[in-house]
């Protein structure tokens, strides 16, 4: 992951620009110091400055959920967050939940259930589902539907998204470990996935 930063795009275009400030963000367990203006959203900081383009910009108004990331384990809309006030928080993006050769249980379930068509909303859906599991409030399909309502899918893959989330939610071998979901290799006892 590159740690280079690009100049604030408005620097040359707009007059009276507030100088960029050094801001340190802890993303997926690593500190990154970037030079950003106060109005840089967390979403833009992740995508444009840290090259973490898994997090998607959909509506940019907190309505679609494509930009969902986890902050201290809680799901938020990164498009409505000003990055400068997220210093000192533990930020997790889709890149931090699993790796290509080691998918998170949610990522694997989305593949297994064909829970997407175009895939644009998928990182947000998965981060949101991770947040839902962290919250430990949902058990039934109706509850999961309601608590995934902040993530829109214009392809309409909701049925399969729901079945993917339900599978992980009720998989006794999946636990939250250090902020990410893992599948326990051997499971002698049923563990709660809601901790």
């Amino acid at each position: 992951m590159s740690q280079t930063f690009i100049q604030e795009p408005l620097d040359k275009a707009a007059p009276h620009v507030v100088p960029a400030q050094a801001v340190t963000l802890n993303v997926n367990g690593e500190d990154h110091t970037i030079q950003i203006a106060p109005w840089t959203s967390l979403l833009d900081a992740l995508r444009e400055y840290l090259n973490l383009t898994g997090t998607k910009k959909g509506c940019d108004h907190g309505q679609c959920g494509a930009c969902t990331v986890l902050v201290d384990g809680k799901r938020i809309n990164s498009c409505l967050a000003l990055a400068t006030v997220y210093q000192g928080k533990k930020i997790q993006t889709i890149e931090g939940l699993g790796a290509e050769d080691n998918l998170s249980p949610l990522q694997q379930a989305f593949v297994d259930h064909d829970a997407f068509q175009c895939g644009y909303c998928t990182p947000g859906q998965i981060c949101s589902a991770q947040g839902l599991i962290n919250e430990g409030r949902c058990k039934t399909e109706d509850e999961v539907r309601e608590h995934m309502s902040g993530n829109l899918c214009r392809c309409g893959a909701y049925t399969n998204i729901l079945s993917a989330v339900m599978e992980v939610l009720h998989d006794g071998n999946v636990v939250v470990d250090n902020g990410v979901l893992i599948t326990i290799p051997v499971a002698p006892t049923k563990a709660s996935s809601a901790e």
Partner: protein, 345 residues
């Protein structure tokens, strides 16, 4: 978004000083409404006083038996706080009926009170709106106004306050604690938001520089007889067309104490204390509820009859009151506050 500077205050006094020492400054709480409005160029603060580091996130019991909700506690933490769930399930359910998990995880209690209307014309910079630009006119009076109000409106503005949470806070008779350049004071919830009158640009009665520090709930939480009925165009993630928050104290079938408030119908959460009195000491019955509903909407004014316009809210509002009072009286359904299931009356 316009250019601005930002300070992260660490104490309430410091936040108030920082804001008042900058022209055109605004407080930044969770930012879920303010940042959005700034992206639309509707709010153009030149300085933000960020409140994220202030120690106002606690939810604590009060000596008088009430509960204090820190202004910077998030809506999610408030809805799922054990004391709120146990003693004020109406508030919990009402918060969870609004927005999305992502928004509730960031949006603060103080910010919920101070969020702006979602009236179409307030957001549409191409159309006149007295709330956005005083004196420019109200496009909603004749334009599509399905989301607008029917009670307490004025010729200047028929916008509604969009909050669900505030409807419960009105019914619970909460008290808002604020701190400003002149010190601290408290505001009764019914006096916090205002009707539009000739100054729809003012949503509430805060003075310049004042900051909400806490919301105090009285001891009575109506945990045995309550309901939040929210009617909307889709059953999740939509603002209320009409909503009713009810809290009752019952003795058998007799209503000893009644509090209720409506959302989606006015510039503020709508409480009618005369209507509440009509219920008290009476035996619960559909006829009584219909009389109460008729009283609440006796002076309502609709602004157009077709489906794009809002006169339907008068009949819908009456039916919603009757149904909500029935639900709260009977508590016949085991309500899971995690899921707000909508159905037609």
């Amino acid at each position: 978004m316009n250019s601005f500077t930002l300070t992260q205050a660490t104490a309430t006094d410091e936040a108030v000083r920082d804001l008042t020492s900058h022209d055109g400054a605004a407080y930044l709480g969770g930012g879920t409404n303010l940042v959005d409005l700034m992206k639309y160029n509707l709010e153009r603060p030149t300085h933000l006083t960020s409140l994220g580091l202030l120690p106002l996130t606690d939810i604590t019991s009060l000596p008088d038996g009430g509960l204090r909700l820190g202004a910077l506690a998030t809506n999610a933490d408030t809805a799922w706080h054990p004391e709120v769930e146990k003693r004020y399930p109406l508030l919990s359910q009402t918060i969870l009926a609004g927005a999305t998990p992502q928004l509730r995880n960031v949006a603060t209690n103080g910010g919920n009170l101070n969020q702006r209307t979602r009236c179409y014309y307030f957001y549409d910079l191409a159309t006149p709106c007295n709330k956005r630009e005083p004196g420019s006119g109200c496009s909603a009076l004749t334009g599509p106004n399905r989301v607008c109000g029917v009670l307490g409106t004025s010729e200047s503005c028929i916008a509604t306050h969009p909050s669900d949470m505030c409807v419960a806070l009105a019914a619970l008779e909460a008290v808002v604690r604020v701190q400003g350049p002149d010190g601290e004071r408290t505001i009764k919830f019914e006096d916090y938001h205002r009707l539009p009158g000739d100054h729809p640009e003012k949503d509430n009665t805060l003075k310049p520089g004042e900051l909400v520090t806490a919301i105090d709930l009285p001891e009575e939480g109506y945990a045995d007889h309550f309901t939040y009925l929210k009617l909307r165009d889709r059953s999740s993630y939509a603002f209320a067309l009409v909503s009713v928050a009810v809290g009752l104290k019952m003795n058998g079938n007799t209503i000893e104490k009644a509090r209720f408030a409506l959302g989606g119908v006015a510039h503020k959460p709508w409480r009618d204390q005369e209507a509440e009195k009509m219920l008290e000491g009476q035996t619960a019955s559909p006829d009584l509820f219909r009389q109460v509903a008729a009283k609440v909407f006796a002076e309502a004014k609709g602004y157009g009859e077709d489906s794009l316009h809002n006169s339907f809210k008068i009949e819908l509002g009456k039916r919603a009151i009757v149904r909500a009072l029935k639900q709260a009286t009977e508590m016949s359904q085991v309500v899971n506050p995690n899921v707000f299931l909508n159905s037609n009356p």
